[in-house]
Assembly symmetry: C2
């Protein structure tokens, strides 16, 4: 059993309106020390199996469901792994 965290973010070329709005709101709260905000989502996914099997599952569910490759990109990291 493996627990992975899949991070989905906008591609660098895509404007992040939510991040921009949050940054302005943070400035309105008086925190001018905050220079940039970018927003993303993540999926904590528990998968039966380990290693290559899990890599294959992550790639497939990212391709088929979780990521809009027109605007988004993803990375993932293994959080826990048990044989």
């Amino acid at each position: 059993m493996t627990k992975v965290r899949i991070f989905v973010t906008y591609k660098p070329s895509v404007f992040d309106p939510q991040g921009d709005t949050i940054k302005k709101t943070i400035h309105n709260l008086g925190h001018d020390e905050v220079k940039d905000v970018q927003v993303g989502k993540f999926f904590d996914v528990t998968v039966e199996g380990t290693g290559d099997q899990v890599d294959a599952t992550v790639k497939e569910i990212a391709d088929q469901l979780l990521v809009n490759f027109n605007m988004e990109t993803y990375t993932y990291q293994v959080m826990e792994e048990h044989q």
Copy 2:
């Protein structure tokens, strides 16, 4: 300058309907090896300063803006730090 990633998740006691729906959709795609899905959001925040200053800023913007403490909780990690 410090870049932190702030992770916001539902509290364990709060049902995550989006995660549950995604899990069912993944099963419909044939990936029964996926046992659990939980959804969260993250904020990549670039802050002027380092160390305790940054910790204070993160706490204040989480408390004042980013986190709904009725349903959510947060953690954060430093991704990059430059003097």
